[in-house]
């Protein structure tokens, strides 16, 4: 099979998921669901979560559980809002980038120095960030003008996401660090014997994630133009949205590159959320459907992989016999 044909088949396999989801909802509500205008809005909705999920990509590959992204995105948004109201647009952009770097360093240092499981470190940090957000500058929340939220509007929101996607694609697929991430993710012990220092890899993985969450925080504030502090793990739902996209990407990785799988994952999840509202599913059942979809999809992919392996074994056994 030619390289182009191979890429085309992979792309079709990956895109099959959102297309199937789209068709299901379109069949139920043909007149109103999934108009080009609606898809455009859903695509914009998916961008902030995509940046977050891209940030989580390396950590998820290594097997690190990070529960702090939502709290960092919220905290960065509050900082950006404050700097916009004090010093203007460029100060807000700088604050987003710099605070992302800072949070990345804090997370990375806390994880590598404390040497406790990532779940413990990141839940602790999440509580600290959320609490700090509640007292930061009086804890009143922030708002910015619509004009200042340009990075949350099309086409800028797509461009920012595209830049972040390209950067991660290069880091993940074309650099030594990216290969080290995959090596540590596959088997930390073997990676160690191959001369890779897992602690260094994890440190930079957390650091990159923090930088992405900083940009996601900036985009989030630009998109919503208003933000309030969250507390008592209220930021977890945002983290889970990004995590779910990451899970879909993991299970699509047989067909498409994980970085592109994340984009497909976030768009699919947003499509499902919008579709459930559009077909009039009662509010309390909406998340049940989302959870059921995730279980079904991942379960189906897992079973399919097992069946494939089983078939291959039978094939091999037959060949050996022959």
């Amino acid at each position: 099979m030619g390289k182009t044909k191979k890429y085309a088949v992979s792309a079709l396999k990956g895109l099959a998921l959102p297309v199937v989801v789209y068709l299901i909802f379109k069949l139920i509500r043909p007149a109103t669901f999934g108009t080009p205008e609606a898809l455009y809005i859903i695509a914009q909705q998916a961008m902030m979560v995509t940046i977050m999920s891209l940030g989580m990509c390396c950590n998820m590959t290594i097997g690190i559980w990070d529960f702090s992204p939502g709290s960092i995105v919220t905290m960065v948004g509050l900082i950006c809002g404050y700097y916009f109201n004090q010093y203007g647009f460029w100060a807000m952009v700088a604050a987003g980038i710099l605070s992302g770097i800072l949070f990345g360093l804090i997370n990375a240092t806390a994880y590598t120095v404390l040497r406790v499981p990532s779940v413990v470190v990141t839940v602790g940090l999440m509580l600290i960030y959320e609490s700090y957000g509640s007292v930061y500058k009086g804890g009143k929340g922030v708002s910015i003008t619509r004009e200042a939220g340009i990075l949350g509007q099309a086409p800028w929101i797509f461009l920012v996401t595209l830049v972040m996607l390209i950067i991660l694609y290069v880091i993940y697929n074309k650099t030594k660090f990216g290969f080290n991430v995959k090596a540590v993710g596959n088997n930390e012990l073997i990676a160690k014997t191959a001369g890779i220092n897992p602690r260094v890899v994890k440190f930079f993985s957390f650091f990159i994630a923090g930088c992405y969450f900083g940009i996601a925080g900036l985009v989030n504030l630009s998109y919503t133009t208003a933000l309030s502090p969250a507390k008592n793990m209220g930021t977890m739902s945002v983290t889970f949205d990004a995590m779910m996209a990451g899970f879909i990407a993991i299970y699509l990785s047989g067909a498409v590159n994980r970085v592109f799988g994340i984009v497909i994952g976030t768009f699919t999840m947003k499509l499902i959320s919008a579709g459930l509202v559009a077909i009039g599913v009662e509010a309390t059942w909406q998340k049940v459907f989302v959870g059921a979809f995730l279980l079904f999809f991942i379960g189906f992919t897992q079973i399919k992989a097992q069946v494939n392996e089983w078939m291959n074994r039978i094939k091999r056994a037959k060949q050996v016999k022959a």
């Binding site: 509007q153 507390k231 959320s273 559009a278």
Partner: protein
């Protein structure tokens, strides 16, 4: 030697704990009361009021100003407040109550997340002889209400008729020609939001208005979550006329407005909600028609239950059974209403609020010996923009 050292350290630790406790109970809380008022208040039972408040937070306008009003009330008798907003569910509100009791609180004011936790909370308060009451909440379950009525330390609750106000707003929307309505609310089980939700459902049943789409927050509400909900409505219902938010605090209303703005639907899809937002935004949105109707002003609600608690702790309980106080929402349908409200009823910039410190003092029997339960109930019943303007000489 080690044993001696351990003994010495234990002694030091014990003494420091005793010192901390002592310091806490004798700490002056400030406030503006006169020395006579204070001594009179403390004389009634000799017990100083330490009121614990269990609330979602004090960073938004509703949480901040309501807590501030309660603090001013408690300060009239030289008391203090302790705030706990660490809960994550109705069940963890029990832990919040335990924390407050451990911190020495002799009264607890709670905005309960559901009815089901109330008997457990009541039992805890009975065992510890701590007075308690509800703010912004009615007890929906008759069985639970019956249980609470037998509890000695439960003073009662203050609530608004949540179903009535949203029904009224819903009927107003239907009268204005709204045919397709979508609604956003807190998760099922939040009794206040469920009651508000029901008011709109009732209005839809009685009119030709259709509740075509609905969304309940999962986890914390806020601008991003509300924006996502509104965008889902926009994408699924091109003919949508209006959106109703059962709560507009925590930037949710701003999130809804931002979504409408972003997708060119501002003015085309009307918004209505409960809970007020910042003055400038509110005036602008009412003037340009983005906000169809809004109800709120209930930041004074906790003051009335707090008054029942303060009187109970001081040994001047106003009633020998739990009492319910009803407060009216203030609803705006024009920018003029908003101007008056923010000039006279809730003005953070100038420090103007619905009740002055002197008026708050009149809710406490040790300061106002003529106070009765009916009198306190009447103060709540009278609450309106006009009432505040009249009391403050602005009529």
């Amino acid at each position: 030697m080690k044993k001696l050292l351990a003994l010495a350290m234990a002694l030091v630790l014990s003494l420091s704990l005793v010192a901390c406790g002592g310091g806490d109970s004798s700490a002056a809380a400030g406030g503006s009361s006169t020395a006579d008022d204070l001594s009179q208040a403390v004389e009634a039972t000799g017990e100083k009021v330490k009121l614990g408040i269990i609330i979602w937070g004090t960073t938004d306008a509703l949480g901040r100003n309501s807590t501030m009003m309660v603090e001013k009330l408690v300060q009239q008798v030289g008391g203090e407040i302790v705030i706990d907003s660490s809960y994550t569910s109705p069940e963890t509100q029990i832990q919040s109550a335990e924390n407050l009791i451990s911190a020495g609180c002799n009264a607890i004011l709670i905005v309960n997340s559901s009815d089901t936790m109330l008997p457990t909370l009541g039992k805890l308060c009975e065992e510890n002889q701590v007075y308690w009451g509800l703010q912004w909440r009615d007890v929906i379950s008759p069985e639970i209400e019956e249980q609470l009525n037998t509890m000695e330390y439960f003073v009662g609750n203050t609530c608004e008729d949540e179903t009535e106000i949203t029904h009224r707003l819903g009927m107003a929307m239907a009268d204005a020609g709204v045919k397709q309505l979508a609604m956003v609310g807190n998760p099922v089980g939040d009794t206040t939001h469920d009651a508000r939700w029901q008011g709109i459902v009732d209005a839809c049943d009685e009119t030709e208005m259709d509740l075509v789409a609905q969304y309940r927050y999962q986890g914390t509400s806020g601008a991003p979550a509300c924006m996502e909900a509104v965008e889902s409505f926009i994408t699924g219902y091109p003919d949508l006329d209006a959106i109703f938010l059962t709560g507009g605090t925590n930037s949710t209303l701003e999130g809804a407005l931002s979504a409408l703005d972003k997708h060119g639907k501002r003015g085309e899809i009307k918004l209505a909600c409960v809970d007020f937002i910042d003055a400038d935004q509110m005036k602008e949105y009412l003037e340009d028609g983005t906000l169809f109707a809004i109800a709120g002003g209930h930041y004074v609600d906790p003051v009335f239950t707090a008054a029942m608690l303060v009187n109970a702790v001081e040994g001047n309980r106003l009633s020998d059974k739990p009492e319910e106080i009803n407060l009216q929402f203030i609803d705006f349908q024009s920018a003029d209403d908003a101007v008056n409200y923010y000039d006279y009823v809730e003005n953070d910039a100038d420090g103007i609020y619905a009740y002055t410190e002197e008026e708050l003092g009149m809710m406490i029997k040790s300061i106002n010996p003529d106070l009765t339960m009916d009198g306190l109930r009447q103060m709540a019943a009278d609450y309106s923009i006009e009432d505040v303007m009249e009391r403050h000489g602005n009529a």
